[in-house]
């Protein structure tokens, strides 16, 4: 049933985010972008493992564009930092 598919995705995604956030916090990570980048990765891992039934529309496109843009910005800044510094 799709209701359970959405539930499975939500549980997996929030579970992964909680796990990674706690791990990063316990490791003493202070960089904000690390938390955000890992979150985006958690989303795509959850999305590929428990893909909820989505209907094509603006919300889906906006979500993917937002997440990929955030991830691209975070990675670009980090690469730029490495190259410059």
């Amino acid at each position: 049933m799709s209701g359970s598919q959405v539930l499975r995705f939500t549980l997996l995604y929030t579970g992964l985010v909680a796990l990674f956030n706690s791990t990063l916090l316990l490791l003493g990570e202070r960089r904000v972008d690390a938390y955000v980048a890992v979150n985006v990765l958690s989303f795509y891992v959850s999305y590929s493992l428990a893909r909820p039934p989505t209907r094509p529309g603006v919300a889906t496109v906006v979500l993917h564009v937002l997440l990929l843009t955030v991830f691209a910005v975070v990675v670009t800044l980090r690469v730029y930092e490495v190259l410059v510094g």
């Binding site: 049933m1 799709s2 209701g3 598919q5 959405v6 995705f9 939500t10 995604y13 929030t14 985010v17 956030n21 990063l24 916090l25 003493g28 990570e29 202070r30 960089r31 904000v32 972008d33 690390a34 938390y35 955000v36 890992v38 979150n39 985006v40 989303f43 909820p52 039934p53 989505t54 209907r55 529309g57 603006v58 919300a59 889906t60 906006v62 979500l63 937002l66 997440l67 955030v70």
Partner: protein, 227 residues
């Protein structure tokens, strides 16, 4: 739209904003990082609430459309387009009929001809059995009982308004579920059928659909209480 997911998303965003404010206030970038991460979770849940669809619901809607089209073809073939949709309750069981006769009780099951007039009649079982039965036909109690069935139980629409005038009951449905609204153009559609069955249930009498159409923001149907 998945309302539960939307509410969850908004709450998660609200909590993450508070955490972000606290992180900024204490200059703790770790808390700020967790807050931004959690706000992203909220945004994802909010977006998913608009993007996800109930696959089973979609299947049922498609099936309802197929069934409506099949029944419409039979209705057209039997020249019953200008007939009435009748719903009767007999011994807890609901029977639906599409016929020109005013007496639905006299119709047998299936497709047949009575007094030279074709009809379709079929039992639909004990659907909506838990509906509140009103003893008197007054607008307010009928509206409350129909609202309980059509809005709370079935989620067919968001508001029901009824008006009783003698033997006639006018039911106005506002905020009809979009997939069902799409089918309202068909002679036999789920909205009219479910409203007829619900009205027959709550009144405990046979009802016949006399007229239906659109009103601003919804649809109306006028039923005659036959017995």
């Amino acid at each position: 739209m998945n309302r539960a997911l939307a509410v969850l998303g908004v709450n998660v965003v609200a909590v993450s904003v508070l955490a972000a404010v606290y992180g900024l206030y204490t200059q703790d970038t770790a808390i700020l990082g967790v807050a931004l991460s959690v706000s992203l979770v909220g945004a994802v849940l909010l977006a998913m609430s608009f993007a996800t669809s109930e696959a089973v619901l979609s299947s049922l809607v498609e099936y309802a459309e197929i069934a409506s089209r099949a029944l419409t073809t039979v209705v057209e073939d039997l020249d019953l387009l200008r007939s009435r949709l009748l719903a009767t309750v007999d011994g807890g069981e609901v029977r639906l009929a599409i016929a020109r006769t005013p007496d639905p009780g006299s119709l047998g099951t299936g497709i047949g001809v009575r007094y030279g007039e074709p009809y379709i009649s079929f039992p639909v079982g004990r659907v909506l059995e838990g509906a509140t039965v009103v003893t008197e036909l007054d607008g307010r109690s009928l509206e409350s009982a129909l609202g309980s069935v059509l809005v709370d139980s079935l989620g067919l629409c968001s508001r029901v308004v009824t008006e009783v005038s003698g033997r006639f009951v006018r039911v106005e449905l506002y905020g009809i579920s979009r997939p069902l609204e799409r089918m309202c153009g068909m002679p036999v559609n789920p909205v009219n059928v479910l409203t007829a069955v619900a009205l027959a249930r709550v009144t405990g009498r046979a009802v016949a659909l006399v007229e239906s159409g659109q009103v601003a923001g919804g649809r109306y149907a006028v039923f005659e209480v036959v017995s």
